[in-house]
Amino acid sequence: MSTTTTAPAPGASEHDHLTATSPAPQPRVLLRLATAGSVDDGKSTLVGRLLHDSKSILADQLADVARVSEARGLEHVDLALLTDGLRAEREQGITIDVAYRYFATAKRSYILADCPGHVQYTRNTVTGSSTADVLVLLIDARHGVLEQTRRHLAVAALLRVPQVVVAVNKIDLVGYDRTVYEKVAAEVRAVSAGLGIEDITTIPTAALTGDNIVHTSDTMSWYHGPSLLQLLDGMLPSTDPVEGFRFPVQLVLRPQSSALDPRQIEYRGYAGQLTAGQVHVGDEVVVLPSGLSSRIAGIDLAGRQLDSAVAGQSVALRLTDDIDAPRGSLISSAADAPRPVTTLDAMVCWVAEQPLQVGSRVLLKHGSTTVKAVVDQIKGRLDLATMSPAPAQALALNDIGRISVRLAGPVMAESYLETRHGGAFVLVDPQSGWTLAAGMVRGHEAFGDSFTPPDDWQI
């Protein structure tokens, strides 16, 4: 596949630093970003600026935005209009829903989940953060860390977004003042440290003028770091730090008489996507929840036989033994395989209108398994503003709480702290089909070593 990445990104040739080609061109890597910020801190402008200055906005899109800006009597082209997709959003001048944007440099293909900043849309920030390799958080330099900033950082910590970049924005409105920037940066570092966020970088930016977004700024001689895009271009997608591999079985491929190639009539392979680690032919594996052991006989990608596969690849595995591993099974490296469980202690972010109550009957989806579940206990609700737990009888929309659930069948859940894929689940309403909650299985601690909630909350 590396043969296909030689074509330059759209417009990249106009930017020296974007086309700085290394002697042996590396394949472009996919990096997933989520943006978050408070209302009016210039997030849409920053995203618009990122797209515009990286030449990802094409002429007709820009003409469209210029036309609408003019019709509204604006003196400048409002780049925020690039990201407001729905009519209601443009009418009200707000962003309602997560919007996905795409841009590329010579080194990275970016998927950017642009999450609205309103308090009532916390669930959108949870959604965007769940897949993000990097959270780009905006802070208005004039206002510093707000309650909303704390909430976004808490969500990033809870969802374990591996890298956080804080843009201290509107630095132009405080006269590009170094002391203001350093005060805000210190404040946000202190909050992040309290939440156990280890990897955080701050950048002074002015999205309206483009300072330090794509190009480094000339107006801040005191800042020697990279621009936002230069920084992102050096980041890698996150991988779960497991020793072996995890492979939830989605389907069993047994074509029998429907095989397109008559030589494959006896074929039996397990179809799925590697969620963590690497698998090699010959690896010792265990199939869960049955616990049967086997070895990898082959790794197939549509007729191509691979020696190994890495997290993110969808392949079919063949085993040396004829064992039963239906949809919902997990094929795992034998040495570090998880244990099937039928009760879960978890943090949940409630994303539905109807509240969660003790005794609620729900469906729980984890990996490729869906099981019936009952909520046994609501152990409390987390106040994101103070980061302190409080007793709760129910969880309402946008609440984050700790619950325990009992399952009708086993799931191969692991601590979310150790593996995002292995610890993530969703709760679904069995009647309406609506998604109710984002769930994270507690390991020993939910927020990392440095977060110290009261004793009974140690996660």
Binding site: T5, D97, Y100, Q273, T370
Partner: protein, 304 residues
Amino acid sequence: MNAPLSAPPLSHLGALEGEAIHIIREAVGELERPVLLFSGGKDSVVMLHLASKAFWPGKVPFPLLHVDTGHNFPEVLAYRDAVVAKLGLRLVVARVQDYIDDGRLQERPDGTRNPLQTQPLLDAIAENRFDAVFGGGRRDEEKARAKERVVSLRDEFGQWDPRNQRPELWNLYNPRHRAGEHVRIFPLSNWTELDVWQYIASEHIELPSLYFAHDREVFERNGMLLPVSPVTAPRAGEQVSVRRVRYRTIGDMSCTGAVESEASTIDEVLVEVATTRITERGATRADDKLSEAAMEDRKKEGYF
């Protein structure tokens, strides 16, 4: 940053392919009666290629659905039929012409039939009791599509409610729905036009010939190059000329414009796509120019 990796990270195309195949298999694992919308356009061709890879060495375990406006390019119909025969699939065709003939739909004054596809599509879904409809829609195509979920609920009238979408968390897709409702599934959500072309090149996927430069009799209308055809005739004052053109998107002949191009190979097309300054819909789709929210309105009503 990250711990050192023992294997290089997946290329962006590898990651996009892995994600798309996972989505296709999830839908088949969870739902009863999926169908793949297939127009012969490049995105649906890539979808079918991914589906073939997802279920190898078996057949693709669902039929194809083509909403036929009656204004198709003949090259595309020939391509469609050849692919269906080669893969041994079942093809369901919903014909806009049937609806016009019996009066259920009326021809529009502007002659375009793209907006007329919605009713035959929804009827075909209901009649065949399809519960999952795969589409090749991409979020980079248009701003209403940028807000679309990978697995997107449609009510029993086929309508999309953009303000009431389910959150989509991690890679845990939720296709559950009530009787009468269905889901639209967009495995290419995160692909860009350039990704699609790079993937076509790397996988050596065969496309209808229209995507490559050829000589064609065309005339200009509303800034678009329309073909001289039984359904698109030049009006008084519209000059016809033979030009070297290709198509960036393929839809209804009456509203899909050609672009001038010398790109006759996949590599030449790749260079052109990588350096273009106009979006593919901006360049070639009259139906999206109707209003600022034209696509949002059609999607709400059940359009793909």
